[in-house]
Symmetry: C2
């Protein structure tokens, strides 16, 4: 089977489709057309149809898309039809916020450990997870089938802790540090750069004035 690469623009939109479908599902809507969806989401119907057809024909002419089916198909495409083990490196405010937010667990991203290098924090609890030392991390990753490593340490330390995690077998890096992380070919990184985000907002504000 031929395997065309899907553009990242498409992947950027999929989680949003998923969110809308989840909402429709909760409110009991059984079917939806690309046109209706496009009106709600402020994108073109054409784009929705084309995005979805990258992965297969999930709809039916004269009917539309079955909300429930499409919801699950997108979940499968995104790889969120099963659980993920997540650890957090950095028990600062942001790391703690991620642990305490129930949102991720609800979507199958289970935060199973949090690490820090501050010895004073050792054994203290965040939510109901005990903080461990980074020295224990490699061992933990090897033994616990960790999929995703969230990095919330200061930028100076980010590449160092990423390397430890990757050497221990981690393959997905969720990077919150204000720096780029260099990784080998088979490791994927998703960046969340809040400072860049607020700068973009600042730009947009300036343009409106």
């Amino acid at each position: 089977m031929e395997h065309r690469t899907i553009s990242s623009a498409v992947i950027r939109r999929l989680p949003r489709y998923y969110r809308y479908l989840g909402e429709l599902r909760e409110s009991g809507v059984k079917r939806i057309s690309s046109r209706e969806l496009s009106e709600r989401m402020k994108v073109t119907a054409s784009q929705i149809r084309q995005d979805l057809n990258n992965f297969g024909g999930f709809g039916q002419q004269g009917y539309g898309y079955n909300v429930d089916t499409l919801f699950h198909e997108i979940a499968a495409i995104l790889g969120i039809d099963h659980e993920h083990n997540v650890i957090i490196i950095g028990a600062g405010n942001l790391g703690q916020a991620l642990v305490n937010s129930g949102d991720f667990a609800k979507r199958g991203f289970n935060i199973i450990a949090i690490f820090d290098n501050n010895a004073e924090l050792a054994g203290k609890k965040v939510g109901n997870i005990k903080i461990s030392m980074i020295s224990q991390m490699a061992d933990f990753i090897k033994k616990n089938n960790v999929d995703i490593v969230a990095i919330t340490v200061p930028r100076q330390a980010a590449n160092e802790v990423a390397k430890i995690a990757i050497d221990a077998g981690a393959r997905g890096i969720w990077n919150f540090a204000h720096t780029d992380i260099s990784v080998p070919e088979d490791v994927v990184v998703e960046n969340v750069h809040l400072s860049e985000s607020i700068m973009r907002l600042s730009y947009k504000l300036k343009e409106k004035k």
Copy 2:
């Protein structure tokens, strides 16, 4: 003066250029060519030159770009050459993390208040800011020249608090809630959807397997 719209792809890259230039500046580098920068940043030199030339010719043939000058030019473009007043709505973990992170203040985004609707939190402190009630927010916005409103409340409440802030005069919304916020023409929104981000990571992980 003609005012061409700059594509959002360009704006997405500017903060990253800014970050790299800041690092170069700190390490005492005085000048840099688009080629050198492109090697460090893993983008094409052509793209850097074209991006910058949307705003003016900041470089010089045979020399390159003066790091310090370009750093400040980009700051001006992004509107971060002056301070911004920021308030946070929602004193949950994420709201508290934003307050406690010194990173934003360092870049001129001063968090001057945090609001919540939980009466039990009234008067309690996050960092050195007292939590106020949302009922006081409109008045605060009117009196304190608030530029940016960060929304970290649950999604069900997001549009409601956004409306209060906008009606009181806020023009920039930094939205962390897992929903879209509808705003009038003259208001700008920058979204930070963490759950969408981790789904994209999940997709990339699946593709590598």
